[in-house]
């Protein structure tokens, strides 16, 4: 119990529960399966990006360029779908987008590792390079009108229920993909040497190096994994809105970072968990959805999110300070 109280995730979980109760009291529509499935589907994109970001943050880096990577991957598959869409299937789409993501993520890792340029600077530069070149080549054109099988896949449900009004709803296949990614990532971080070595590297690069971990391998892995998630995210985005626009994702980097940080990952590396990240995304999702259900004007959304982030990081900073304070007293005794 005491161990539970020391974890950041517990507090985020309590916040999620409290918010859910408040929203449900004001508008019972919130706590319905229909709304829940809907929320899960529409936040799969942010959730996918957030998982990739978690890996990068744990290793002590940061990646700003993932929105641009996703845009490049999304645009490529959109062009392919429009031209040779009949010869493709959904696996190939994910494979192509994922490969592009991995390639661009790997490029980030090489620049960061070989030339020792801080990750934030490298990825700001590559964000501009990827996004700038893509927009020049495509002239900013929107792409839509994908093959019917692509649209059908987006509306596939694992099981279907009917609401009181007879509207069908259910667990979307997109949500299932996201949950699958969550489990793989959780397993990787928790039970593999690779995952544990990311924590070691984020805690202290030099110690990790002395302990014999392959730093370049780890760096290459986290940025490629972030790229893979960006690629998969781009397909999810294309499935959700059935349109690919060069400017629909770039500019949303900070929202994803905020969600991951809300879930307890620190920007100095070495901490963070998949469960926390999911809770962070959940908190942002239910607040966005809850404010609408509580009839709060949408304009207030950012004010509330900003306050929640400040309170969350403030509380965790305060707790860290207190525990450091306690340690000093014990040492003095």
């Amino acid at each position: 119990m005491k161990k539970l109280l020391n974890r950041h995730e517990t507090y985020v979980f309590i916040a999620v529960v409290v918010f859910s109760i408040i929203i449900t009291i004001i508008n019972p529509n919130f706590f319905t399966l229909e709304n829940l499935f809907d929320l899960l589907k529409s936040y799969s994109l942010m959730g996918t990006f957030a998982i990739g970001m978690l890996f990068v943050l744990i290793s002590g880096g940061i990646d700003i360029s993932f929105t641009a990577i996703a845009t490049v991957a999304g645009y490529t598959i959109a062009v392919l779908l429009l031209n040779v869409g009949d010869h493709l299937n959904i696996y190939m789409v994910f494979l192509i987008a994922g490969s592009i993501g991995i390639a661009l993520g790997f490029l980030n890792a090489v620049i960061i590792h070989v030339f020792r340029i801080p990750s934030i600077i490298t990825t700001i530069a590559t964000l501009n390079i990827f996004y700038g070149l893509l927009t020049v080549i495509t002239k900013g054109k929107w792409l839509y009108g994908f093959p019917t099988w692509f649209g059908d896949f987006a509306t596939t449900r694992v099981f279907t229920l009917y609401s009181a009004h007879g509207n069908p709803y259910g667990l979307s296949i997109i949500t299932v993909i996201w949950i699958g990614l969550v489990f793989i990532s959780w397993f990787l971080l928790r039970f593999t040497i690779l995952g544990r070595s990311l924590y070691a590297m984020g805690g202290n690069v030099n110690s990790a190096k002395r302990a014999g971990f392959n730093i370049f391998g780890n760096t290459a892995f986290v940025y490629s994994y972030m790229g893979l998630m960006a690629g998969i995210g781009s397909v999810i985005q294309a499935l959700l809105v059935q349109t690919v626009a060069p400017n629909s994702l770039v500019g949303k980097e900070m929202d994803v970072i905020a969600a991951v940080v809300l879930g307890g990952a620190s920007l100095t590396g070495g901490t963070g968990s998949v469960i926390g990240t999911i809770l962070g995304v959940t908190l942002i999702a239910i607040m966005g959805n809850g404010l609408t259900l509580m009839h709060v004007p949408a304009l207030w959304y950012k004010v509330v999110i900003g306050l929640v982030i400040l309170i969350s990081v403030g509380v965790s900073a305060y707790r860290r300070k207190m525990s450091a304070h306690k340690r000093v007293i014990i040492e003095n005794d």
Binding site: P118, I124, Y131, V136, V304, A317, Y318
Partner: protein, 327 residues
Amino acid sequence: MFRKLSHFSILLIVMVAAILIMWGLTGTDFMSLGNFQSMAYQLPELGVLTLAMMIAMLTSGINLSIIATANLSGIVMALILTKTFPPESALINSPWLVVGAILTGLLVAIIVGLINGFLIAVLDISPILATLGMMILLGGVSLVLTDGYVISGFSPTMLAIGNKDWLGIPVPMIIFLACAGFMSLILNKTPLGTRIYMFGSNPVACFYSGVNNKVVLFRTYIISGIFSGIAAIIMISRFNSAKADYGESYLLLTILAAVLGGVSAAGGFGKVSGLIISLVILQMISSGLNLMGISNFFTLALWGIVLIFVMIVKYVIDIRAQKRWNA
């Protein structure tokens, strides 16, 4: 030879190269007075915002809320300029209203700086998180204040700030140079400047040498806020309007410009002179490509490439210097 090449000299070489390449590619248009004047109108916005980012980066922090601060302070100025008196009243065109609006806007920016300072210095929140939260919060406050609409239509006095020149030098440029001079003065000639560099290199050592770190952080973020407020004056006057989400793409560009100018992301290093050269390089590329009719997005890509190029050159030189030292 190689060991003596500082970041500043690399930048100078890149700048000369940029000028020559752009001159060669665009012909005489590039070296015309008109082109230089239009560059001098465009550079200050990003320039003042970069100063706001730079001072935070010198303390090994970062200020992600500069654009949000500038927009909020610009919106407050715009509201005072357009809503305090009915449009038919003579007072709405009074220069004193402009002075009042600017002072109130700057006060808002200072208050934001104070809050940032409080979050970072007193609550010990890491700067990137505190200012990220503030960025989202202030963006929200601006949206609520404006209902998401544009506020436009300012008096001629206000518009003169962004669009007139004095002895051929555009007013925004004069404001930017004054800000850069002020910043250089603080960093090089005052105890605060020394403390900012010391804090950026090693906060613990700085603390044990008797510096009140909290005060240094407070002042840093207040100055950063003031520069954001000054950028707001230039922005609303040049656009003749204010809105909650103007200039959001500037945020990452200010970091790019600061780092290109030699400001270390780890804190403690960076000079105003390097920053000015870096801004000139970026503006040269932008204007040159613009004259050739090439898309702005290509400029973005080229800026990114130049940044990585300069960082790689710097790395190679560092490695060589280290090898020589060891040998």
